[in-house]
Symmetry: C2
Subunit: 275 residues, 2 copies
């Protein structure tokens, strides 16, 4: 894996969490080069490898994963306005600047639930939610799209990696300070067989204590923890509230102290120190 | 399994969801008798069976699961006040009616986050959260306990059963109307191997649309969905909000449309019909 940026998954993870993910990939035999660009694809009819950072890496298949750009050609031809993200500009009903013409999916711009900034989400979950809103409105109904946190999850080998809201690095780029807390816990009671490691990072706004983001890497039960964190962010929950929230437990499915609560407790401590 | 009440798990599930759980138990060879009391335990030195509803059921081991009552003897002897639930009465700092004496755990009364009513939670998660608050205060710090939703989860065979907040039946007993929506979905993309059925029921307050409770039965990923629903309830989320919430998806770990969102959509529809 050749990554031009300083660490893998920069849209979803901070450097500390990306290093956890990278180590897990390496333990599974994946060689990871960061801060390295691909200079050349080698081979003729058939791929033979790449030249990356001056080194020749042999390969049978090369997968380019260099980001996507909205296909807005049809909208431009129709005269629809394009937003600052280069996605098609829409109002909360998913209507373009041309009355009764709607746009939804990877081509359409959305806005962040956290700061109202225009953003391109380009996720399947965002696309279907946008499509429903556009469909209801196009058919004469009324529905609005609430914006995005870009909650996302992926799986590599036996590791699930999820993220919602802002990373610390993203907050910094927006000129925002952030306090964070992390914890490494287990997905089942320590004495129960089959439990897996899980690492949770919670990012909070220092002034209000509100949760701004969450990153999780674990062997199981990552997806719904990201959804729980996403709901907490959407409803303005603070780290003090999440640290004391009412969660459920049984030995085969969780630890007594929920990892999201423990990470929030740690974030609250850091927040106190920063004040 | 011999249950005196009309259906199994009455503290956590409504009848419709309990029937789903009962069928799964029966498919695993468990004979379930509801609305049936145990008249007699048979045997002498060693258990031989029970007499239930006039029928003799043979058994090698008999497990009584008839509820628990707080052990308040020590508190009574010390002169501490006992609450209406027969648990030790405490203030939000977990202090009993006697200054500087704290109570926490199954013996201590709490109150519902939904309606402020005194309640006995008697769950491990509640006990550790109470204990932390009591400990901080007893050591001279300041911490308050926010109350309970009694979020709980259990596992039987390959089925996870979870619940948070009020059931429809519990709401009814409190004189409250409730709208509910249910959905049966899958825990992974339909084409992805290993996905399991999951059934989600969302209960909402008809006037405000606020979520009051959630019940889930599924083959995996139940625990953190209950936690997500619990956070939604704690922060006053409505079914309209949850139906449109920003959730995450990848084929090996979820469906594109999150089951919690689909159940909320169905609850919202029922709510509209009732108005």
């Amino acid at each position: 894996m050749v990554e031009l940026l300083p660490h893998i998954l920069p849209a979803a993870l901070d450097r500390d969490m990306a290093q956890v993910a990278q180590r897990a990939l390496e333990e599974n035999g994946v060689r990871v080069l960061t801060g390295t660009g691909v200079e050349e694809i080698l081979g003729g009819e058939k791929a033979e490898g790449v030249l990356a950072g001056g080194t020749r890496i042999e390969a049978d298949i090369i997968i380019l994963s260099t980001g996507t750009r909205p296909n807005t050609e049809l909208a431009r031809q129709a005269g629809a306005e394009i937003g600052p993200t280069r996605g098609i500009k829409v109002n909360p009903r998913m209507m373009t600047s041309i009355p009764d013409i709607y746009a939804a999916g990877d081509c359409a711009e959305s806005y962040s639930l956290l700061n109202g900034q225009p953003t391109l989400s380009q996720l399947g979950t965002t696309a279907v939610r946008m499509g429903r809103v556009a469909g209801i409105n196009a058919a004469g109904g009324y529905s609005t799209f609430p914006g995005v946190l870009s909650s996302a999850v992926t799986k590599a080998f036996e590791m699930e990696i999820g993220s919602t809201g802002l990373t610390e690095a993203q907050a910094q780029r927006l000129g925002l300070r952030a306090a964070s807390g992390t914890v490494t816990s287990k997905t089942r009671a320590r004495y129960y067989p089959g439990g897996k490691d899980i690492r949770v990072k919670i990012i909070a706004e220092p002034d209000s204590g509100r949760i701004m983001g969450c990153q999780i890497i674990g062997g199981e039960e990552v997806t719904q923890r990201i959804n729980a964190a996403s709901i907490a962010i959407q409803k303005g929950m603070t780290v003090w509230e999440l640290a004391k929230s009412d969660t459920c437990y049984a030995p085969p499915v969780n630890e007594t102290w929920e990892a999201l609560a423990l990470a929030s407790e740690n974030a609250a401590r850091r927040l106190r120190e920063q004040r």
